[in-house]
Symmetry: C2
Subunit: 360 residues, 2 copies
């Protein structure tokens, strides 16, 4: 059971006497435990109030402790504004990257004596370093995700389509106890694998082609994320070369992870490896079109970003994906992805599924 | 194949010479056909440009016709701002209820000679009236959703948990060709059914209890939405009374649907019926804690809202859900929901699954 009052206390220390309107639902969940799909949180120096609607009356009182809950009929933002007025707040920070313009304009119009302060990623920054309990929650989600992969791999047979593999994976996650998939599962074979965000098609997996499988589960609110490569029949020389270059890049990036290292350094390590390999006359680093990784937790994409130019230093307790990929248009794609937690001495790879090419 | 150029032409007529920045992805999909997870659309009087990133280079060019596509490395908003400057636009409308404050502030800072005009629901209003092709797409999604329900109902056996029923339903949707579920499937039995937005639990369906099953699929981008009631064993008198009151309210609301009628009238019809029934001393209309329905299409919740105080009049081609529900804390909940299209002479119920209580 996470200690929400401790998290609220840490947020208040960061706010130094200011009040804050928290609008992003994952941030509200992190701070209070409330998992409803509509809510607004006011963190003032001497009170914390969650505003939500009638659908969540029971749930809000069951899930939260030590904070006030106010139920509105329908939109609960006017109730929040009213409370800000009643508290005579002169300044209210808000989540600039999470709030829609209309709500901002509504508050601006409703709060004549209160200055609205755009604030960025305050709660998100707190969320980057995971507590031991959160790391265990992510570990369980990662293990469940791996089990779903093994369960389906053991059954893939002739005639299976990309869509069927994706459906079976998500079903397996659910049967294993997941709330659902953390994102739409990607199953992309052959040339379709050259689209980093391919949607699964109602098309059979092709013999002698590489298949990218990118899947994640949500368990007790925490996300997992893993990419593995499957081959139907033994891969040819080009496919093998592509796969091994990506694997080497992934391992090198993981090796670079330890507290104090800059995110861009980890990212660059993967690119350096890919720079040394050429497939069909193409240097592979030129076809690595996204960043090396991202934080993962209550959201599938959170901080820190493991990307070029990111000078943020890794800290103990951060949990990130490491997922270099190479996309050769008209030919094939390859990506390998693990979830890694930064430890005092380096890192621990939470994903225990073998990274080797799974030949079916 | 929807005619995107016709939709863009209709938008331009509404804009009367103004330019618009479309940020909501379902609106971008509606106007251009692009289904990627990141993109920004500029609709200027003489050009339409989609800005997206490298992951979607191939997909954006394959899915769109007759518009320009500009690929940025990473965030594509600066490219959009640059284009607005190059076109010397003096005024740019934006989607006030869909844009985050940060993007607004970025554009405001990047476009010194351009006035930003908050605009609400322009594309959403266009989307409310569906074309014949869209109605057929929704019909197919509704039929698939019903098939998934029948498939799973035929198999529910002793020991099935709420979570398993939900997982089986979503798996059945996928196997039938859906892209996925339109929202997290609700399976709530007994007292849990008294939460309108209950999350399925790892708990077996109880004998002699009512079960609320609320499910929707996405097929070719279009959503369906249906709620049916299941009972394990024959229901008692109270359960039967509750069920029939909700059924009667739902039928009455559907009967009220025709072009020209105000949404609040349809909503009120359901409430009137519930007002006449009392269960355990409680008048049922006092426990109908949400609105009667919502539009459905590319998004699971869109306009029009079928709710109290909504004076908007229904028009031919609008597609809405009708889903009154009653939630008796500590006792049970009941909801019945169909998707209905407004026709010239009244309405057609697209959902063909029997509304009767399914006794298993």
């Amino acid at each position: 059971m996470p200690d929400h009052s401790d998290r609220l206390a840490r947020l208040r220390r960061r706010l130094r006497g200011r009040s804050m309107y928290v609008s992003a639902l994952p941030n509200i969940r992190y701070l209070t435990g409330f998992t409803g799909s509509a809510g607004h949180l006011l963190v003032a120096p001497d009170e914390t109030t969650l505003f939500t609607d009638g659908r969540y009356r029971l749930q809000a009182s069951e899930q939260t402790q030590g904070i006030d809950v106010e139920i509105a009929s329908g939109d609960s933002r006017p109730a929040l504004a009213k409370r800000v007025v009643a508290l005579r707040l002169r300044r209210l920070s808000f989540e600039a990257n999470r709030l829609d313009y209309d709500t901002y304009a509504f508050l601006d119009g409703s709060l004549p004596i209160c200055r609205l302060d755009p604030l960025r990623s305050v709660v998100e920054t707190m969320r980057m370093r995971k507590s031991p309990a959160e790391i265990e929650a992510i570990r369980s989600s990662v293990e469940l995700n791996s089990k779903a992969f093994e369960d389906v791999c053991a059954r893939i047979g002739p005639g299976w389509t990309e869509s069927l593999v994706a459906a079976e994976l998500e079903f397996a996650m659910r049967r294993l106890g997941a709330e659902g998939a953390a994102f739409p599962t990607i199953v992309a074979s052959g040339t379709h694998g050259a689209l980093p965000h391919a949607e699964p098609r109602a098309r059979q997996l092709r013999e002698k082609s590489l298949v990218v499988v990118d899947q994640g589960a949500i368990l007790d609110g925490y996300c997992s994320d893993m990419t593995r490569m499957i081959a139907l029949g033994h891969p040819d020389e080009t496919q093998t070369k592509l796969f091994h270059a990506v694997l080497e890049a992934q391992v090198a990036a993981i090796d670079a992870i330890c507290p104090g290292v800059e995110c861009r350094t980890v990212d660059n390590r993967a690119r350096q490896v890919l720079r040394m390999t050429t497939v069909e006359g193409i240097r592979l680093d030129t076809k690595f079109s996204h960043s090396t990784g991202h934080g993962v937790g209550l959201e599938i994409h959170e901080g820190p970003r493991v990307a070029p130019r990111q000078r943020r230093r890794l800290e103990t307790g951060m949990v990130v994906t490491v997922e270099p990929g190479v996309y050769l248009e008209g030919l094939a794609g390859a990506r390998i992805e693990d979830v890694v937690v930064v430890t005092e001495t380096g890192c621990e790879v939470l994903t225990r599924t073998s990274r080797e090419l799974r030949v079916l």
